[in-house]
Symmetry: C2
Subunit: 319 residues, 2 copies
């Protein structure tokens, strides 16, 4: 039978999304499983294989799967391993031979993996806002801050396969917030969904400023977003601060690879209306004059769940 | 006659070095001219052409020059232009069609240019410490801080040809030193030869610490280097500080492109004995655990003047 379909899997901190995809980029069947109900990788791989077999059956795709592409935090394109993935409950035990394990669990279907942000960049380049671009930087604003860097039309993997960890570049040098990675002041401790929630809790604590957020118990970035939409001044200031931090670091990134655009994606990117202006302002204030006003700031044009599956699936055509 | 030779030109803030180079990388004839005795580009191009014609005659190379490669601050590989080069006396007037002008002045010999640090990276990749490496970052520590980024064996030029301005990424976010580029806190205001001299003058001014440097009028980084060799405590602290700033930023760069090595080159790199330890320490303290102790810090193995000429000359084989 012709192998005319691929599978894309996006492994996230809380959930993993899987889909069967055809050559045109149509998602024929998809499902979601939990990533955080075990701290061992074996049971996770087992439930992933169950889920894949189910969607293969749903799509009538038995015998037609050419390959499986996986986007996973700290996934190594060269080795197929996941190394010290601090945001995955089962990922923080050194090196996991993820691609090999899934390959075996799926009876020999080839598996390629990369980190989730690189996969998102591939999706955006193939189907989304970066179509036709040869040089761009994808920034995913989710639980953490991920990045996929494209130079000359190719995703940058670097010497060891782990390039593009821009969420862990330093945003605040002194007294920065502790990060899951063990460092302090990383960009993702400020500019991720959790970072925005941390800013909210911190500022509510140290100021008396009235805010809709004061009535809430366990503040999330979504709460801050909703409050900002209501015109809440503190919430608006939180996005201004978040945007400034992002724009300051984007300036550094532009000075590295001179991209045509920075593409934003992920849950927090929904706060576009509140983030764009402070990002652009800080980018222009901090970048060399030659790039001022020249690098586009664009938002993903793909449906969030589809983008991750499509991006990961793009890897599978290469097997 | 066979076009079997090329010319390499390294344009620096004070002087420009030119050489006739053969296919084996032997510099057959070379000379140096001043870059800073005019604030107009036309007379500079004229004296450059005179100098080139002289070394062509010296090398018996009339009719044998295949192309000219130029390394010049803010040189654009794609367009052959020099744009807003703040460190060049005649370069700060918008866009200069440098390659075209030199092409005409040299009676139609093809000219390719890139910035000086990219040229140095090509030299190091072809003949020096980065031979065989596909992923490395070249950092030139001279009057300013330049960088040439190599990914997958190719110099990164980016969307517009200007990628790799790591000397202008932000080292000190608040109250940083003013930079020639108009921004503040740029890496090169701390970690260049002039940055080291600034640190010395600043610290002599704000402390009472005894130092050999106190007796000097117009302190240069060379003075600080000589004092450090004498065991001068303040001078040693200055290099420790400089190394820390470099290492902190190198950590960010590693998180971007995951290089195999960072290659240091330029006048200030002679202070290797005082810089290596603080750089390495700060790199390891600030980079993600997965790269700790894994990215090599190496120093150029080429003679400084030759490296620049050879690097630039490598471009000329591509014409």
């Amino acid at each position: 039978m012709e192998k005319d379909l691929v599978i894309g899997i996006d492994v996230g901190g809380q959930t993993s999304k899987c889909g069967v995809v055809d050559a045109r980029g149509t998602v024929l069947a998809q499902t979601v499983i939990r990533s955080d109900d075990t701290d061992q990788v074996e049971p996770f791989i087992a439930s992933l294989a169950d889920a894949l077999n189910k969607i293969i059956a749903d799509a009538g795709a038995e015998g037609r799967i050419r390959g499986i592409g996986v986007g996973v935090p700290n996934g190594n394109y060269y080795t197929g391993e996941v190394e010290n993935a601090v945001n995955l409950k089962w990922g923080n035990h050194g090196t996991i031979a993820f691609a090999d394990m899934l390959h075996k669990a799926m009876n020999g279907i080839p598996v390629k993996l990369t980190n989730d942000a690189n996969a998102a960049a591939m999706g955006e380049m193939t189907y989304g806002a970066a179509r036709g671009m040869k040089n761009f930087i994808m920034i995913t604003l989710g639980t953490g801050v991920g990045s996929g860097i494209v130079i000359g039309g190719e995703v940058v993997y670097g010497h060891d396969g782990f390039a593009g960890e821009l969420g862990h570049t330093c945003a605040v040098r002194h007294n920065g917030r502790p990060c899951n990675c063990g460092k302090t002041g990383c960009l993702e401790t400020y500019a991720s969904a959790t970072g925005v929630a941390r800013t909210a809790r911190e500022w509510l604590d140290i100021t008396d400023e009235p805010s809709l957020l004061r009535s809430l118990d366990n503040i999330t970035s979504k709460d801050v977003f909703e409050a900002a939409k209501e015109g809440d001044k503190l919430a608006l200031k939180i996005f201004e601060f978040t945007g400034r931090i992002l724009g300051e670091k984007f300036a550094d990134f532009i000075e590295f690879s001179a991209p045509e655009a920075i593409v934003l994606f992920g849950g927090l990117a929904r706060a576009k209306a509140f983030l764009t202006e402070p990002i652009q302002k800080a980018m222009d204030a901090n970048v060399l004059p030659l790039w001022r006003g020249k690098v586009k700031l664009v938002y993903s044009q793909l449906k969030e769940s589809d983008a991750a599956i499509l991006g990961a699936s793009a890897l599978a055509w290469e097997v």
